[in-house]
């Protein structure tokens, strides 16, 4: 029998409860976790067909583009797309870029970025899910894996099985095919930098340079590792793109969406379900099974969801089987989802401030780049005044200035150019290696697709030099085509 006096004494004493959790009460929050392997299941559907089509087109472009030929003349490379680093040129069909025009490449990258922003703002993460090289090659590698090892359940069973001849054979075959694809990928990359037919021959006869072998090896290794082993780890941990997707999407962007207002409350399918009292989601988990990153889209938009839409195909296949409406998971915008949930009409808002702004900037940059490319001349002159001496007084009192004149001949023939200087009276010219005496006009030669540098002296009688610094303009004229280019400089005097 309890001692009621003692009890009362204990209860009346104030004892504070400490705010603490013992170690065993704290959930273990290990800093690191092992990787959970993802086994995506095969699925058929519209989205899957689009994904295959995109993959085939993109890979065809990547592997076949270096083989396209473009005739530029006898001394020039005949590959349509070529980054000629030793020759310091970038070729793209009829476009030829010299190193100082690398800003065209910058413009291309800016356009690519803007295009991505626009597409993402409109259609969600289609870059990630359909066109990203990581996705494309991982998809390809997973297809090979499925071909050799079987679909999801068979692959899981094989991984759990003990080592056997069959397992070794299948794994070996898979890795071998992966390595071959990786090698072709690495090789194709190099072919953008070297002439493709010649490179292939040289590579397999051991005549390529050390650099070529190294880079092919590097890209083979990275393709094999990233597409074969890393897969979704790239999207989750390595790529910066998913982490600022939130800044590129708004309430009108089309994203892969689970219609929770329709699917909840979810529950297993029972006989004769009352669909008015329950949601359409029957917890089949097919959406999770087909997901290449292994997430549950019913949790909402998340970093790991690459927006490939395979869960849409998966859910639709199930909805058809149980006779419920399609698109429980679908591409839709947040605003539209709200409207559908409330029974209001929906709108596809493609033209909004954000997308129009992107389009505007895109058009401006396309315009500037286009004008720049179209106005690209085949002739350029650079003039640099000698730093020392600034000017020289000759015996007869005349004033002479020295300049380095560089002529860039972007045509594919040797050309001659006439040099004149505007802004000086009675000027006479001399160039080292061209003439020993002063002449009224210089004719300078430049080699095909090359640069010629000349040391040019300009002499003016003393009484014609009226200022310490006179603004002049050097003009060269291509004698064959009449094209001119000029540069402003100064003529200095005492």
């Amino acid at each position: 029998m309890p001692d009621s006096n003692l009890e009362r004494t204990v209860q009346s004493t104030q004892v504070e409860t400490e705010d603490v959790l013992s170690r065993s009460e704290q959930k273990t929050h290990s800093l690191f976790a092992g990787r959970v392997k993802v086994y995506p299941q095969k699925i058929k559907g519209t989205v899957r067909r689009w994904k295959w089509a995109t993959l085939v087109v993109l890979l065809a472009i990547y592997y076949l583009a270096p083989w396209i030929r473009w005739d530029r003349g006898p001394d020039a490379p005949d590959q349509a797309i070529l980054v000629d680093i030793p020759g310091r040129r970038l070729y793209f069909f009829f476009i030829e870029i010299w190193p100082q025009e690398v800003y065209f490449l910058t413009a291309l990258l800016v356009l690519a970025a803007l295009g991505l922003f626009l597409v993402t703002a409109l259609f969600g993460r289609v870059w990630c899910g359909f066109t990203c090289p990581q996705t494309v090659w991982t998809d390809l590698f997973m297809w090979v894996e499925r071909l050799i090892e079987g679909d999801r359940n068979q692959r899981m069973k094989l991984d759990r099985a003990p080592l056997s001849l069959e397992k070794v054979a299948k794994k070996g075959a898979k890795h071998a095919v992966w390595l071959v694809i990786a090698l072709l990928t690495g090789g194709a990359w190099i072919m953008y930098f070297q002439d493709a037919p010649r490179f292939v021959v040289a590579f397999f006869t051991g005549q390529s340079g050390a650099g070529a072998y190294f880079f092919v090896g590097l890209f083979t290794a990275t393709t094999y590792l990233l597409a074969g082993w890393a897969r979704e780890q790239v999207c989750t941990y390595m790529c910066p793109w998913p982490r600022f997707q939130a800044a590129l999407l708004d309430e009108d962007s089309l994203v892969v969406t689970y219609e929770g207002w329709r699917g909840e409350p979810r529950g297993k399918l029972k006989k004769n379900p009352d669909w008015s009292a329950r949601g359409d989601c029957i917890e089949c988990k097919k959406c999770v099974a087909v997901c290449p990153t292994g997430i549950d889209i019913r949790d909402g938009i998340q970093l790991e969801c690459i927006g490939c839409g395979l869960c849409i195909d998966a859910c639709n296949s199930v909805m058809e089987k149980i006779g419920r409406p399609r698109n429980l998971i679908t591409w839709d915008s947040e605003n539209n989802q709200k409207a559908r949930a409330e029974g209001r009409p929906t709108r596809l808002r493609l033209l909004r401030a954000r997308s129009l702004a992107y389009v505007a900037v895109l058009l401006v940059i396309v315009g500037i780049t286009g004008v720049g490319l179209a106005g690209r001349s085949s002739l350029d002159v650079n003039v640099t005044h000698d730093r020392n001496p600034l000017f020289v007084t000759l015996s007869d009192g005349a004033i002479r200035n020295g300049y380095e004149v560089r002529i860039l001949n972007k045509t594919r023939e040797d050309r001659d150019y006439a040099l004149t200087v505007e802004g000086l009276q009675d000027a006479r010219f001399m160039a080292i290696g061209v003439t020993d005496d002063f002449v009224d006009q210089l004719v300078l030669a430049a080699p095909a697709d090359g640069v010629a540098a000349y040391q040019v002296y300009v002499t003016v009688p003393r009484d014609r030099v009226t200022q310490q610094q006179t603004d002049v303009r050097f003009v060269i004229e291509d004698l064959a085509s009449g094209e001119t280019d000029g540069q402003n400089e100064v003529f200095r005097g005492p």
Binding site: D19, V20, L21, K27, L31, F32, N388, P389, L394, S395
Partner: protein, 290 residues
């Protein structure tokens, strides 16, 4: 250190327990491969420390098992560069300055080498590009004290002027004033006359007339009857617009009274023949070579 591990209601994952202005962070575990890659980089660095120069000792440093030294790498790269240059250097060495002027590729190489050597050796006195400075001749103009042909330039560079080298060029202008060869007024007269030689207006035309006779007696032997100068003797031309020591009357008077005469070192002992050839070509092409 959080005492309570909070779970984010939306994702079910733990937060770090901290909050900044209402923002909380999820505390997701990092993948283990990330950790292993980090360990891999540590292992790599340990290998690096062993193979390459790494740790300083008190009186030196650990040179690494491979013994690589940047100085040796530099030496080998310099040797490679020189070997690559060798074909051009040999061609320049084999050709005379006149032949170099004719051959564009050799000329480009020789000018580059000459420009570099000029900046190191000649520019302190003659200025970069041969621009000259006070009392040091401008090499870029067409006025030459000792001659502007390739041979003359080469000789001047190789043996210099008024130095101890046995083959150095030498001449001496008498100090007409300091040695009392001419009186002060006579010097002024001659100075006026000298100004007329270059077509300038003398301040005192009457003095200039008187000075003509003195010039013929004293000066024309070296400087020429019309002031054309004599490059064999290093006597400058007086009939042009270029004055090394100044072209005003007081400056000319000073120069006649107590002439300043420049000295130049002999470069043959210091530079090899090929370099002197390149310098010759460089100076000759600064615009005034004959």
């Amino acid at each position: 250190m959080p005492t309570k591990i909070e779970k984010d209601s939306l994702t079910g994952r733990e937060t770090t327990g901290h909050e900044w202005d209402g923002i909380k962070e999820l505390n997701n575990p990092l993948p283990r491969w990330w950790l292993y890659v980090f360990y891999g980089t540590i292992a790599w660095s340990l290998v690096w420390f062993v193979l390459y120069p790494s740790w300083p000792w008190i009186d030196g440093y650990f040179e690494g098992v491979l013994g690589r030294q940047e100085r040796q790498v530099l030496d080998s790269r310099m040797a490679q560069a020189q070997a690559a240059q060798a074909q051009y250097l040999d061609a320049v060495a084999a050709a005379s300055p006149a032949e170099i002027l004719e051959e564009p590729q050799l000329l480009t190489f020789a000018l580059a080498g000459g420009e570099a050597a000029f900046a190191d050796n000649c520019a302190p006195c003659h200025g970069l590009g041969g621009a000259g400075q006070a009392q040091y001749p401008v090499l870029a103009d067409d006025d030459w004290i000792w001659g502007g042909t390739l041979d003359a330039i080469r000789q001047t560079i190789a043996y210099g002027i008024r130095n101890e080298h046995p083959q150095s060029r030498f001449s001496e202008m008498p100090a007409y004033g300091a040695m009392n060869i001419l009186g002060r007024e006579e010097i002024v007269d001659v100075a006026n006359h000298v100004l007329t030689l270059s077509g300038s207006e003398p301040p005192d035309p009457a003095a200039a007339d008187r000075g003509a006779a003195i010039y013929e007696a004293q000066c024309s032997a070296c400087h020429g009857a019309d002031g054309g100068g004599m490059t064999d003797l290093g006597a400058p031309a007086l009939n042009d617009q270029i004055w090394l020591y100044g072209g005003t009357l007081p400056e000319i008077v000073a120069q006649i009274s107590q002439p300043r005469q420049g000295a130049m070192p002999a470069w043959a002992p210091r530079l090899d023949d090929t370099m002197i050839d390149m310098l010759t070509v460089y100076v000759h092409t600064r615009g005034g070579g004959e």
